[in-house]
């Protein structure tokens, strides 16, 4: 079966005088695989997923989504993308946002009528009548996940999907990922919550400063007796300049 995502030697920077935001990243994603992309803030994870979703253009390297350039709209037909800090047209209601996006996905009216109420119910937004501008961050995140699964994608990209969710919401997202994996959907999870990644991902890549430091199956990346957090901290600290633990004005008060 053809690969879902293929990233080869990807490089990207936002301005010519900036350092590379993504520098030589290579990985592939197969159907039914859950791939965790980890890294500290500014590692380049969101840039990678935005390039895969066709939102940013790579400067160098090759990215294929279902065998095509992600910039081609047809390549994104089977993509579900829940962005970090999702937002939507502010004056629409949740059901209208889903109807809007279902239309963009090319779903006919009958299918929209079937899927939208169920998706809203899954997201816990079925009784919500307010406009998006009045939503909390958690509600927007739920709507972000709802619109991402609406098209029954073959690839689901979740960029920090549980950052603003309560524990129940996080549990729902984990259950969703498990369910999708079982049905052959590839999941690309970009998260700071290492325990969550450890629970749901088969393969991980740890990034820092735009480069992949380590990549492999969970068993390959995490040796026995250690957990993902230990490996992550070791790798990232080994590739980052040392820094003071606390600001001096805090330690001064502790001394006095």
């Amino acid at each position: 079966m053809a690969g879902v995502v293929s990233v080869d030697g990807l490089r990207k920077r936002y301005r010519s005088r900036d350092p590379w935001a993504v520098d030589g990243v290579t990985f592939a994603l197969e159907p039914g695989q859950a791939f965790g992309l980890l890294g500290p803030n500014g590692a380049g994870k969101s840039t990678v997923v935005k390039i895969i979703a066709g939102l940013l253009r790579p400067d160098e390297g090759k990215v294929e989504l279902f065998g095509s350039d992600p910039g081609n709209p047809a390549a994104r037909k089977d993509l579900g993308f829940a962005p970090e800090d999702p937002d939507f047209p502010k004056f629409l209601r949740a059901a209208e946002v889903l109807d809007y996006f279902a239309s963009l996905l090319g779903l006919d009216e009958q299918e929209r009528k079937r899927r939208i109420p169920e998706t809203l119910e899954f997201a816990g937004l079925d009784k919500e009548r307010r406009q998006v501008r009045q939503f909390s961050k958690g509600m927007k995140q739920r709507l972000g996940i709802a619109q991402a699964i609406l098209g029954r994608p073959k690839l689901l990209i979740l960029d920090e999907p549980t950052a603003d969710l309560d524990p129940l919401g996080r549990r729902d997202v984990r259950a969703l990922i498990d369910q999708l994996k079982d049905s052959g959907v590839a999941v690309l999870l970009n998260s700071h919550l290492l325990s969550e990644v450890e629970l749901v991902c088969d393969t991980v890549a740890i990034m820092a400063k735009g480069r992949v430091l380590k990549e492999g199956t969970m068993a390959e990346v995490v040796p026995q007796g250690k957990n993902l957090e230990d490996v992550f901290v070791e790798l990232v600290e080994a590739n980052a300049p040392p820094r003071d633990q606390l600001p001096s004005f805090i330690t001064e008060r502790n001394k006095s």
């Binding site: 979703a53 939102l55 709209p73 047809a74 047209p89 004056f91 963009l104």
Partner: protein
């Protein structure tokens, strides 16, 4: 429903819920009504004064009433132009910029929708909103004109078409610029370009054309510049009204005619259509290049 239609439909829903457009529309509607009623009151006061013997001895009361009516129609055209511009700025500043600024574009562009469909849908929604609002204001203006009798319907139609044509250009310019920059900066840049730079060039070009400025060099320069900027469409009604008013005023009003821009020619209309196409292309290019 394809992508462009979905984008147009929900952009219209959004625009209809934005308070800024509602405020501009209400200001426009009240402004036109206030102008009409105010001039009608003035008209009544002047008429009653005439009956009481206060009419200027050299002015026929019927001609004076006609002058007031023409003045009202001139003011209405001016008001429609101003409110049309406000609405064009309101739509242009919000229709695309808010999707980009809020991050909604991230979710939209990750769907299987092309940037052509996105641009087409946004343009269609913006034009539909502009046409509906200007259409309602034009109907209101027509109804207010009944206060002064009738007979100037064609003048109103021509003026409204010219206003819609001009506001379309401004709206497309602001839409394109706001894809690249902050929407307030885009509106200021569009105002400076369209209303100040292009306005001054057209004004000086009119003066050279009518012979008020006789210098050959200035004439050549402004002939070239004139065909590098958008031309504001002008209906023949504007000049007709001024000439009618001048005819009533006699010798006193003749100097006003030189300052009146001539009615747009076929060349101006073709140039307007070309500018609209260029701006649509520029908007598409901006949207296509835009990373979110």
């Amino acid at each position: 429903m394809n992508g462009a239609l979905a984008i147009a439909r929900y952009t219209l829903v959004e625009l209809s819920r934005r308070r800024i457009l509602l405020v501009f529309f209400v200001i426009g509607a009240l402004g036109i009504l206030g102008l009409g009623v105010g001039l009608k009151i003035l008209y009544s006061v002047v008429s009653s004064n005439n009956q009481g013997g206060f009419a200027p001895s050299n002015v026929d009361p019927a001609a004076f009433n006609r002058f007031i009516e023409l003045a009202f129609v001139s003011y209405i055209f001016g008001a429609l132009g101003i409110f049309g511009l406000l609405i064009a700025y309101g739509i242009g500043m919000t229709a695309i910029y808010h999707d980009l600024d809020s991050g909604a574009a991230v979710s939209i562009f990750s769907k299987p929708v092309s940037r052509v469909a996105f641009t087409s849908g946004k343009i269609a929604a913006a034009l539909a909103a502009l046409l509906v609002i200007m259409g309602v204001l034009a109907v209101e203006a027509r109804l207010v004109m009944f206060l002064f009798g009738g007979g100037l319907e064609n003048a109103l139609t021509g003026a409204v078409l010219a206003v819609i044509g001009n506001t379309m250009v401004v709206m497309l310019l602001v839409l394109a610029l706001s894809t690249w920059m902050n929407n307030i900066v885009a509106a200021i840049a569009a105002f400076i370009y369209y209303n100040v730079i292009a306005g001054v060039i057209s004004f000086v070009h009119n003066l050279t054309d009518s012979g008020v400025i006789g210098s050959g060099i200035v004439r050549t320069i402004f002939d070239i510049l004139y065909w590098l900027v958008p031309h504001q469409l002008v209906s023949s009604a504007t000049g007709d009204l001024v000439r009618a008013q001048v005819a009533i005023q006699g010798e006193r009003g003749t100097t006003a005619i030189a300052g009146v821009p001539p009615a747009s020619t076929t060349g101006d209309v073709v140039w307007w259509a070309f500018v609209v196409c260029v701006l649509c292309g520029l908007l598409y290019y901006s949207v296509r290049r835009r990373e979110v």
